[in-house]
């Protein structure tokens, strides 16, 4: 059975992370995603580590290769008028157009939505940006790491009494990318019913602020800012990450009911934990410092894996703090076939994160590794766009394919 989006073509002008993460979802679902890249200004993720075995190269970055699996690469020098002709032809033959440039860049190239809909009336265009395409701050400079504090995450994340903290990743990027993919898919369903295309404006700020309802509504309902409180949770205790046996090793433990608490106390074996001081959630919140110290006395004597095994066997939610190595080597993830190791011409087989969902009737395995820069120029120009050999030579000679 062919994949869900078989026959859907995406002209992908996006770069860095948010846009490519959006189109990765479409590629996973079987769309033909053609990334338009520029040799003069390659995707930022092609230029930064990790490079395979520390050897730099435009096709060797794990960051790029992770987020562009299954896509094709067409290089165009979009400053060249003939390259813009190629871009327009690509758009006219695409169902979806994706971009995440700074505000106004697509319009200045004559590739804004007003032009796109002339080329392809039923096109769905998704435009992803830090601030969105309207509003007084739409022209502000937006870098991924700064959208995390901008969206509100940092003011409510951090240790008790400490400064605001980050997430550790540019969380607004994948969050906007996924929301963008949801919107594109909904728009495709609408087009399937009506034949109509449309324009979709996704801002990293808004897409991620929608994931802070508890904090925003606390302020709306009560006028208070939720305090930074480490790993604790007002509705659960214990709720934390505890030091384990070993160097910088940790285990997360969360208890959501008094039953779970009694199970945990039995595993830990500290008689004091069975005292009335810890009986109810209110008791445990009142004595949480002492509770955490007693729990740590136990967790430091066992590995995170052993603590997890024993607590899970008793019905208590626990899991080791996984590093990137732990994730890559995890027997569960490997056993489920989550990783993708397709041979890449320059970096060989590497263990990439794959598709986090499984469809029973139209399976969605990653079809190909990430493309090398310009790898598909000839086949896209010939098979998709219908240029002759002589025309391709002329485009090359004119410097349009740079």
């Amino acid at each position: 059975m062919s994949k869900p989006l078989a026959g859907i073509r995406v002209a992908d002008f996006s770069w860095v992370w948010a846009g490519p993460f959006c189109t990765l979802q479409l590629a996973h679902l079987g769309a033909e995603v053609i990334r338009v890249e520029c040799r003069d200004r390659p995707c930022v993720t092609r230029l930064i580590p990790p490079f395979a075995d520390f050897e730099t190269g435009l096709n060797r970055s794990g960051y790029f290769n992770q987020y562009n699996q299954g896509k094709r690469s067409l290089t165009l020098n979009l400053k060249h008028p003939r390259a813009l002709e190629v871009a327009r032809r690509l758009i006219s033959r695409s169902d979806v157009v994706a971009e995440n440039f700074a505000n106004g860049v697509m319009e200045r190239m004559g590739l804004g939505y007003e032009e796109v809909r002339k080329l392809r009336p039923d096109a769905i265009m998704v435009s992803i940006s830090g601030y969105g395409r309207s509003g007084p701050e739409r022209d502000f400079v937006s870098y991924g790491p700064a959208t995390v504090p901008l969206a509100g995450f940092s003011s409510v994340t951090g240790y008790k009494g400490g400064p605001p903290m980050h997430v550790g990743i540019s969380y607004g990027d994948p969050t906007a990318g996924l929301h963008g993919a949801v919107a594109v898919l909904a728009a495709l369903c609408h087009r399937q019913q009506t034949g109509e295309g449309q324009f979709i404006d996704v801002s990293l700020w808004e897409a991620s602020a929608t994931l802070l309802p508890e904090a925003l509504l606390e302020y709306e309902m009560n006028g208070t800012e939720p305090p930074r409180d480490g790993n604790r949770n007002p509705h659960m205790a214990p709720h934390g990450v505890f030091r384990s046996e070993g160097q910088d090793r940790w285990v997360s433990i969360a208890v959501g009911s008094d039953d779970e608490w009694r199970s945990l106390a039995a595993v830990v074996g500290d008689a004091e934990l069975s005292s009335p001081r810890f009986r109810t959630l209110a008791d445990r919140k009142r004595n949480e410092d002492d509770l955490e110290q007693r729990l740590t006395r136990w967790t430091t004597t066992v590995s995170p894996e052993e603590a997890t095994r024993r607590l899970q066997a008793a019905g208590v939610a626990a899991f080791p703090t996984m590093t990137n190595q732990d994730v890559a080597e995890d027997p569960h993830l490997n056993g489920r076939g989550f990783f993708v190791d397709l041979p890449h011409p320059e970096v060989g087989k590497r263990h990439h994160a794959g598709v986090p969902w499984k469809l029973s009737a139209t399976p969605c395995e990653v079809a190909a590794p990430a493309p090398c820069l310009g790898q598909h120029n000839r086949e896209v120009l010939t098979d998709v766009l219908g240029y002759s050999g002589a025309e391709i030579e002329a485009l090359t000679a004119a410097g349009a394919l740079g």
Partner: protein
């Protein structure tokens, strides 16, 4: 104007956030969503926040946010008659989304082969912490455990001199939101495919796997360089850090050479900024323990909004550390119509975050507030007859 998904009937059987968020995404774009709650009510009814701090299962902010645009019915799936009603409801649905624990699937006929039997056009989406196969299949996990299992918690917290602090979670329920988003992507893919294949299918979504896909560049450091990602604190380039101003915090991102130069000029070109040990972004990172306090001293005299606007005018990426109050009063968010208002019979007039995206032809809409417990039970059961 009808929504992009007005032609879809969705049944949501969930506990908490994950499948509620999937169904919210679809309902906000027009789908007819029926949410099934147990007689005791959904768990988010107990989480709040509550107006004036008064606990009331009908006014929990998180529940109201997640379940606007849905109709709510109560079914007791331990009761045979209600199980039959549930089956009938699913019979006429386009999509069922649930987060029933893998070990419990048999209880309500939700095993992958079972749920689609006799329902050839149904898309049935199962969300779980670790998927429906593999050694962790039956592990229990709250949001905090998932954030650790997916490798994100270990990227935050700690840092120079504070290695004794534990890996740090992110506020809220981010793991559950992420898996909910992924479930929406996969479900809509299956719905789209149905128009051509005529057939529905089973969709399985793992929260742990969803999180591993967003580890950014940190994950491939292992397969590409056999390097373990370390916790925050030692960044390869700077400035990329928080600073405290007179009236709040900012995050400065002046990592390109021209941005750094503009920032130094804005500070009045102090002599120390020209020292060789701060000569490029790698050196600024290597000597960050010396550089940061000097920048911090200057920052402490600034006000957040003035500095934000001044540096942005000069094209230096900087952002305020927005408080919730800042977000509600943001001119930008309000100009874009990000916040919406609703009137709820028990919670009264309330504002909430609105559209995560603007669709030009089939916009995100708020059509009705979240249901009271069992508000639509009679209405929906009548439709089944």
């Amino acid at each position: 104007m009808s929504g992009a998904l007005s032609h879809l009937r969705v049944v949501e059987l969930g506990s908490g956030l994950a499948s509620a968020y999937t169904a919210k995404l679809l309902g906000d774009l027009g789908a007819d969503v029926v949410k099934i709650e147990p007689p005791s009510g959904d768990s988010t009814r107990r989480l709040g926040p509550f107006p004036a701090g008064r606990v009331d299962p009908e006014t929990s902010g998180l529940f109201l946010y997640l379940n606007a645009n849905k109709r709510g019915i109560v079914l007791d799936l331990d009761d045979a008659a209600d199980r039959a009603r549930f089956a009938k409801l699913v019979d006429r649905a386009d999509l069922l989304v649930h987060d029933v624990a893998p070990a419990q699937l048999g209880r309500c006929g939700l095993e992958p082969q079972e749920v689609t039997r006799g329902r050839p056009r149904l898309v049935a989406t199962a969300i779980s912490p670790f998927g429906v196969s593999g050694p962790y299949r039956d592990y229990r996990a709250y949001d905090l455990n998932l954030w650790n299992a997916g490798g994100i918690a270990c990227l935050n917290g700690g840092g120079p001199g504070t290695d004794d602090l534990p890996p740090l979670r992110t506020f809220g329920h981010q793991a559950l939101f992420q898996v909910g988003l992924n479930a929406a992507v996969a479900s809509l893919g299956a719905i789209f495919a149905r128009e051509t294949t005529g057939a529905g299918q089973h969709v399985e979504v793992s929260a742990q796997e969803s999180l591993v896909t967003i580890l950014e560049l940190t994950y491939p450091f292992w397969p590409y360089c056999q390097m373990k990602a370390t916790r925050l604190g030692n960044k390869p380039i700077q400035p990329l850090d928080f600073f405290e101003c007179k009236d709040g915090w900012v995050f400065l991102c002046a990592v390109e050479e021209h941005q750094w130069k503009t920032f130094v000029e804005t500070m009045g070109s102090p002599e120390w900024a020209g020292l060789d040990i701060f000569g490029d972004r790698l050196q600024r990172a290597a000597n960050w323990d010396a550089l940061k306090p000097m920048i911090a001293t200057w920052m402490a005299e600034q006000t957040v909004q003035e500095l934000y606007r001044l540096l942005q005018r000069r094209r230096v990426p900087i952002a305020p550390v927005s408080t919730m109050g800042d977000l509600w009063s943001s001119k930008h968010l309000n100009a874009r119509g990000f916040f919406v208002s609703f009137d709820h019979p028990r919670a009264g007039a309330c504002r909430a975050p609105g559209a995560p995206y603007l669709l030009s032809r089939t916009p995100w809409t708020l059509r009705r507030p979240a249901p009271l417990l069992g508000e639509h039970t009679a209405e929906v059961l009548r439709e089944l007859v």
